[in-house]
Symmetry: C2
Subunit: 326 residues, 2 copies
């Protein structure tokens, strides 16, 4: 029994700006021993790894010790697959270039691969989600920010340096809204993220100063994408227009992405997809409108069906099955 269990499991870790979630995953994509620690607590990455180790140790013991684990896969913002590093991640407490895969290998005594969080989610979707069997698709994560993972010819597109797929930072509206983090103007993330939706709502309220809206019951600081959604489903016209505008920008962006890699599907993922048809309908309309006829009415626009944390854990763990050596 002990022998047959050797290296049949993978650890999948998703490092988010707030929390790090992890699980032990088998080949079928079943996740056991889920857990989480705070990402923000430790400014020193060594302390963070030590806490992660302590949190994982009981689970590792439970499945038969580290010999049962084939490797560790990590999805992290600004994660670089080629180098196993996290590089200048604005939302993480560790600055500069962090050789995380190497540090993890040293601590856990097992191989570790790393990629960015959206790429990990795309791999999770390809192995266990709605992209199963697809060789060409684009995953767009719509959360606090906008991330992406691009699969073409059945492979993730990493680019020559490991940083491909920063679609959230492509310019959709030249000289448009300035992104606070990057300083770029009119990027997709400035509009189609949860942050962007809140900003659009505030802009619309200020522009039409006398127009009635349920959103006026909230202080400016209270307005977030959730509040806008709640008002929109209560029939508030202005809140609905915020989603229409967001879908217009997102749809235009998706049309451009389609004309780049001609994917079978675009898969939307993350908190913003909770808005359902409010976001999906205008997005689809403006995507179709802005494409050449040869692309129209054939690209699937789908919501992910995986739980948000699960997709990332599954995708991260999938890196392990691709490892060449143990």
């Amino acid at each position: 029994m002990a022998i047959s269990q050797r290296q049949e499991l993978a650890i999948g870790i998703d490092i988010g700006g707030t929390n790090t979630v992890f699980g032990i995953v088998d080949h079928r994509g079943d996740i056991s021993y889920r857990g989480a620690i705070s990402t923000r607590k430790h400014n020193n990455v060594t302390d963070y790894i030590n806490e992660l180790y302590d949190a994982l140790l009981p689970a590792i013991d439970e499945v038969g010790g580290i010999n049962a684990i084939r490797g560790i896969g990590i999805g992290a913002p600004n994660g670089n697959y080629y180098n196993g590093t996290i590089e200048y991640a604005p939302n993480l407490p560790w600055k500069g270039v962090i050789p995380l895969a190497q540090l993890m290998t040293d601590k856990f005594k097992v191989s570790c691969s790393l990629t960015n969080d959206a790429n990990a989610a795309a791999v999770g979707e390809m192995m266990y989600g709605v992209a199963r069997g697809m060789k060409d698709f684009i995953m767009i994560t719509l959360g606090t920010g906008v991330g992406s993972g691009i699969v073409a010819n059945g492979q993730l597109i990493y680019g020559h340096d490991g940083f491909a797929g920063e679609l959230g930072h492509t310019t959709i509206i030249p000289d448009g809204r300035k992104h606070k983090g990057t300083g770029l103007h009119g990027s997709l993330e400035a509009y189609a993220s949860a942050t962007g939706v809140a900003l659009t709502a505030i802009e619309f309220l200020e522009r039409d100063n006398h127009r009635d809206s349920l959103l006026r019951n909230f202080a400016k600081e209270e307005i977030d994408s959730r509040v806008v959604y709640d008002c929109a489903i209560q029939g508030d016209k202005l809140a609905q227009e915020v989603y229409e505008f967001t879908g217009k920008v997102l749809g235009l962006a998706l049309a451009n992405f389609v004309m780049f890699s001609s994917p079978e599907a675009i898969i939307l993922f993350g908190g913003m997809t909770k808005a359902g048809d409010l976001i999906l309908k205008p997005t689809r309309e403006h995507m179709e409108k802005n494409m050449l006829p040869i692309f129209q009415n054939k690209i699937k626009l789908l919501f992910s069906e995986l739980k948000e944390a699960d997709a990332a854990i599954l995708g991260a763990s999938a890196l392990v099955w691709e490892m060449k050596t143990v």
Copy 2:
């Protein structure tokens, strides 16, 4: 001797809107027996193939007959690699879906592969040009139109349907200039093609009605990208601004493409590159300005060094070396 020559050569054919050029190519990329016929002369594709056959026959005989030819590779506008078809090419005389690879195989009794012209040029560049040894690059053809071929992980990106890489039709300026052929607004091709340069010049002349410019010596119908170039190098300020504006739009577009696939280089190709620094400088400036810092100052922006017709013939012939069966 006859035996060792068997199937050591490829026919490369580049079908353009005006002319079709072809050559017989060896493994080292040496082109012999170049020739050309008119693309426009025959509205019936069978007549066209017959003329092409007659034009190629003496060359084929010269190299030892059809047994010396391993296959035929074709680059054509709207060429679909998967199906071997040309589909709805607006600039070709044959309408609808043309099963050209099959028709050529039937006529020549040898395998035929087909891809779009920009993809063929990209493959030519990868095998014999400035992209030699690169696994990730984007080729942008700047001619009457704007085409593209994208290589990632050492492979051409075809997409799920064979139509990937229509970067000329991505929207760069929402609600911008309407493209006469596609009806789309603000696409890259509407600005960064030779046609776009002429339109920009005319717009600038009409906008600043009283401003002096050498371009006013030409009738509206006479203004093309060549005239704008000639005036610009003679120091005409307005003509120079036309190229600056064109570079601004192109640079913004390239920044977006970089954030998609993070290529080692972007290679510019085609008639517009004759403008040299006039187009290259503003393009580079605006590309750098619109990218995330992790991409800045590391993407090579290069002009192709292959002769325009050669790149396409070489790229088309390279399809032959990749053929699985003969």
